[in-house]
Subunit: 358 residues, 2 copies
Amino acid sequence: MTSFTGEVRIVGAGLLGTSIGLALTKQGIDVAISSKSTKSVDLAVSYGAGRAVREDDSPKLIVVCVPPQLTAQIVAEELIAFPDAIVTDVASVKAGILAELERLAAPIERYVGSHPMAGRERGGAIAGRADLFVGRPWVITPNAKSDAAGIKLVADLANALESSVVTVSPKDHDRAVALVSHVPQLVSSLLAARLVDAKNDDVALAGQGLRDTTRIAASDPDLWIQILEANSAEVLQVLESLSADLATVIGALHNLDSEKSIAQLRHALEAGNIGVEKIPGKHGTKHSTYAQIIVMIDDQPGELARLLTEVGEIGINLEELKLEHSPSAQIGLVELYVVPSAEAALIADLQKRGWRIA
Amino acid sequence: MTSFTGEVRIVGAGLLGTSIGLALTKQGIDVAISSKSTKSVDLAVSYGAGRAVREDDSPKLIVVCVPPQLTAQIVAEELIAFPDAIVTDVASVKAGILAELERLAAPIERYVGSHPMAGRERGGAIAGRADLFVGRPWVITPNAKSDAAGIKLVADLANALESSVVTVSPKDHDRAVALVSHVPQLVSSLLAARLVDAKNDDVALAGQGLRDTTRIAASDPDLWIQILEANSAEVLQVLESLSADLATVIGALHNLDSEKSIAQLRHALEAGNIGVEKIPGKHGTKHSTYAQIIVMIDDQPGELARLLTEVGEIGINLEELKLEHSPSAQIGLVELYVVPSAEAALIADLQKRGWRIA
C-alpha cells in the first residue's frame, strides 16, 4: 500500500503531531516524539503515537508540528541539528515561514512545507486520532530549491496517512486557504459574536443553520491570531470583497421598494447557491454536474443492496448516493447520481428490471 | 403520548407540509393534503403523508404550508372556507402576516401563527421526513384575539410532532429569527459567493469548516427574498452591528503593527467563542435522533452493495445513508445512520466482518 519507511521524528505533541505519530506507529514505522512539554510527550507515547527521543536518533524525515509563530525557528533548528534529514511542517500559512527561513539562511534544500487540511475543534494529544488525515487533502508547498527526493518523501508520508496529495506554491496555498479557511473562520466568529448580547430566549430558537454557521467560532483565538497575522494580505482581499457585498445587501434592505434592491438581494442569494455548488463533495446539495435518478424501493431489508447490485450489473458507476428513510414512509426513495450521459440508459435498464422510478 | 386527535388538513405539499403529514399519519391521524400542484400531492400521498382531499372534509385543524408571500391570503381563504376549523401556518416571519390578516378583516380568533424551527436546505415533498420536528423548537405566536382552545390545539400539534413548544408574540419572534436564522442565511450566502470567481484548485482545498459555514447558502433564493423583505427592519439591526465589527477587523488587519489591532482581533475571536457557547445543545449532532457510523470502503464496484448486504444480514435497519465520492481518494466513506440503541452492536458486528470503522 505505502512505500513509506524509515525513522520519523515529530516535534510537537499536539493534535497533529500525535495523530501523525499514531498513524505511522500503527504501520510499524519507528516514530520519535519530541516536545518542550514532557507531559505532552508522555501522553502521546502512552497513547501509542511513538517513543521518546534517544541520543542516537537518526531520522530520515522530521515533521514540525508546533504553533505557526514558532514554526520557522524550529524548522531552522531541526535542519541544522539533523543534517541528513528532510524537514516538513504542518502550519496553516506557508509563504511567511519560507521567507523567515530564507532570512535565517537555513538550508531550505531539505525543507518542504506541508499543510494537512484536517483538524478538530479539540486540540492536544488526547484529541489525536490515526485516521485524522484519511481522505483529506494534504497540501505540499515545495520551495524553488527543494530537493526532488525530499518532495517525494513528504508525498509518501501523506500517502501513508491516506491523504490526497496536492502540490502548490506557498503563495498559491496562502491565497487558497484565505478563501476556504481563514475568512470562513472570521465570518463565523463575527456571526457568533451577535449572540453575546442577545436575549437567551431569542438564542433558544437556534436551529441547525446557526449551529453549522457558527461551529468553528469555538476555535482557539491564540492560534487564529497567529494565522491571521501571517496571512493578512490574502485574507484582506477576500474580506474586502465580502464587505462590499454586505454593504450592497444592507443598502437593498433599506430600500425595498426599488426593483433594483430586490435584484441585488436575489443576486447575493444566487451567488451563494453558485458558490456552494463549487465545493467538491458538498454535503446535502445536488451536484449540477450529475443527473439525479430517484428510485422507489420497498421499505424492507435487502432492497437497497439488491438495487445496488443490479446497478453494478448494468455497469454504470454511481457518483453519489443518498437514501432518505422516513420512519413512517411506506417506501424508500433512493437518489442515484450518475454522469448525465448514463442517465437515460440507467433509467431504461432499471425500469426493465421492474424498479419504479419517481 | 399525545392527546392530538381529529382530522387535519394540510395546504401545501412541500417539505414542511409533507413532513407534518408523515408524522401525523404515522400516529393514525386522518390527514388530507391539498396543493395547487397535483404532482406534489401524488408524491406526498404515495410517500405516506396522507390522502387527497374529499368533498366532505371537515378538518379540526388546518396547517397552511405555502410560501411566505402567499400565506396571509391562503390563511384568510381557509378561515372562510372552514368556519369551524382552527388555522395555523408555518411561515418564517409572523408580524407581517398578522397585519395582513387584520387588513383583510379575517376572523383571526381562529388563527394562531406557528413557526417550526426545522428545515433542510432541500425542499419539496421528496425531502419530507416524519422526524423533521423532533426536538426542535416550535414557536407559537398567538394574536391578541386568538381563542385559548385554538392555541392549545396548535400546541398539541407541536407536541404530537415531538417539538418543544415556545410561545412568544409575533414581534418577539421576528426579532429572534432575524438573529438566529435570517442573518446567518445572508452571511452564509455572502461567504459562499466568494467562491464564485475562485479558482477550482483553490476551492478544492475546502475542509469541513467551509462546508459547514456555507451549507445553508444552498437555500432557495425565492423563499429567502420573501423572508428578508418581510423582516427587513429586524435583519438590518443585526446586520449593521456585524458590518461595524467587520470594519473593525478589516482595519486591524491593515494595521497589524499596532497592539490595539491585535487586541481587536482577539476581541472578535473571543466574542465568537462566547457567542457560540450561548447556543443551547450546541454539541448535538446533526441528526440528534440517529447515531452516525462511518465505514471506510475500498473505492471499487460492488463494495457498497456488499456492505449493505451485510448490514441487512446483521438485521439492523438503516435510517439514512450517505456516500461521498471523492475523486482523488482511494477509499470511500459511507455514513450509516441508525437508532442509537443499535450503534454498538452494528459497529462490533461490522468490525468482526472485517469492515473498517472511522
